[in-house]
């Protein structure tokens, strides 16, 4: 199947048009949910870090540092990928699966179009392309969530928080997470596309395929998270 997906497109112009549509549908439309989730998680983490480090022996800057590192290393890459597997992944499986059961894919094949390439390749490229941006947006708004929530909750001051998020910052953490998000982007698009493309039956089977696709994508994300962390961070 991978050979067919990455096969030579019949017409590059149409694939590029499809790519921009997918970037809009799968990527741009996900920005709001990423912002909302990140603001809340950033705020929650700041309060929790402040609570667990309320002992005076810990410097208050640890709250900002902890929030920043958790966001960069795990939340904005892995956790966000798990959330996106639910949103984008189920969208991809149900869209392609419905096209399969309503014979739209057969229709493409009969026309002589490489259906796997035309339907799946733009989705993979779009999601791999958009994921690092979603990661950066998530980190930014997560930190902003902490900055707003911490002082309102009275657990940390703005200067302490800002000092914390700049303290012991390793730019490699960002590189590491961007590499992870590229891998996860590929998984979030390709695994659900596979399950949608090979679905058989009707609406019920499309629903089941969506669930199976999301579960499998989540397991693969966690597995690759472990492998990539071991390879790139230790």
């Amino acid at each position: 199947m991978l050979r067919r997906i990455f096969g030579r497109p019949e017409k590059h112009k149409l694939y590029v048009r499809q790519l921009f549509q997918e970037i809009d549908t799968l990527g741009v439309n996900s920005v709001w949910i990423v912002i909302i989730i990140s603001i809340f998680i950033g705020g929650i983490m700041t309060i929790q870090f402040a609570y667990s480090m309320s002992n005076p022996i810990y410097p208050s800057t640890l709250v900002g540092l902890g929030t920043r590192d958790v966001l960069i290393l795990e939340f904005s890459s892995t956790m966000l990928a798990l959330i996106m597997a639910g949103k984008i992944g189920s969208n991809i499986t149900s869209e392609i699966g419905t096209m399969r059961v309503t014979e739209q894919i057969d229709s493409l094949e009969i026309m002589g179009v490489n259906s796997a390439g035309y339907l799946i390749l733009p989705k993979i490229v779009a999601v791999v392309f958009i994921f690092p941006f979603l990661f950066i947006i998530s980190v930014f708004f997560g930190l902003l969530g902490g900055l707003v929530t911490g002082p309102i909750a009275g657990v940390i001051t703005i200067p302490e928080y800002l000092e914390g998020i700049r303290w012991l910052f390793y730019p490699y953490y960002v590189t590491f997470s961007i590499i992870k998000s590229l891998f996860f982007g590929f998984l979030v698009a390709s695994v659900p596309a596979y399950f949608g493309y090979y679905v058989k039956g009707g609406a019920l089977e499309v629903g089941k395929a969506s669930t199976t696709a999301v579960v499998n994508t989540n397991i693969l994300i966690l597995f690759f998270d472990l492998i990539l962390t071991r390879l790139l961070l230790t």
Binding site: E10, L14, T98, E103, S107, G112
Partner: protein
């Protein structure tokens, strides 16, 4: 012309098509009829190459579709138009964009030329301009079928396949669709194969009829011969429809 020679197809060891040999003439509406589960859709999809067959030959003109290379087969598909049972229009595209899709994919025509062709095809199937920008979900079942026909003829195909084009349509719309397919077949001199179990279609446009029973060719003839056949299996199929049973009765009385 399409010729099928000694075609066999089975699924998981159980035979579905057995030794099918027939020919479908150019410029005629060739109908494949039979009960549900008799193997007519499998035959259609086997001819189209959507199913790999076990044995046999499928000739499109002078080319054996089974033996030609993948690349040649892909090329040949551009000469084939297909109307699916449910229309199979692309949900994400408008009516107009659905018809333009094969032109965008396989031609190097200018936008103006493509639009001219789209207008021509949609006008040929009696779709008015107001419907051009609508989504497939916003038009009726009959209109969806007509748009599917317009898309199928967009590339000027030599071969047109229709799988149950009348299913789910009222008798009046079904007649319109039948007539449309027949007219287009004559006008563009296509080899048209229609898969149906609608007896009205058989009587109206069945210039050549192939009756499949239990995966075998049980009868071949024309719509003019079909009511007078003494093939028992075919009679059981035709006269299950009370209207035709009545017609036959009256015909016998008049004799």
């Amino acid at each position: 012309m399409i010729q099928v020679k000694n075609l066999y197809k089975s699924f998981d060891g159980s035979p579905v098509l057995k030794d099918i040999t027939t020919r479908f003439e150019q410029g005629k509406t060739n109908l494949i009829i039979g009960r549900s589960g008799s193997g007519k859709t499998v035959l259609l999809k086997s001819i189209l190459g959507l199913f790999d067959i076990d044995k046999g030959e499928v000739w499109y003109g002078d080319k054996n579709f089974i033996e030609i290379s993948r690349k040649e087969r892909k090329q040949m598909r551009r000469e084939i138009g297909m109307v699916f049972q449910g229309g199979a229009l692309f949900d994400s595209l408008t009516v107009e964009a659905n018809v333009r899709f094969p032109l965008d994919m396989f031609t190097h025509q200018s936008s103006k030329e493509k639009q001219k062709r789209v207008d021509f095809c949609l006008e040929h199937v009696n779709i008015g301009k107001p419907a051009f920008k609508l989504a497939p979900s916003e038009i009726s079942g009959g209109m969806q079928k007509r748009v599917a026909i317009a898309r199928a003829i967009a590339l000027n195909p030599k071969y047109l396949f229709c799988d149950e084009p009348n299913s789910g349509l009222d008798p009046e719309t079904a007649t319109v669709i039948d007539k449309l397919i027949q007219d287009l077949t004559k006008e563009f001199q296509m080899t048209t194969i229609i898969n149906t179990h609608d007896m009205n279609s058989v009587v109206d446009i069945g210039e050549s009829v192939l009756f499949i029973s239990n995966g075998e060719v049980a009868w071949e003839g024309t719509n003019k011969e079909i009511l007078d056949t003494d093939n028992q299996k075919l009679n059981d199929f035709i006269f299950a429809n009370k209207l035709y049973a009545q017609m036959k009765e009256e015909q016998n009385k008049n004799k």
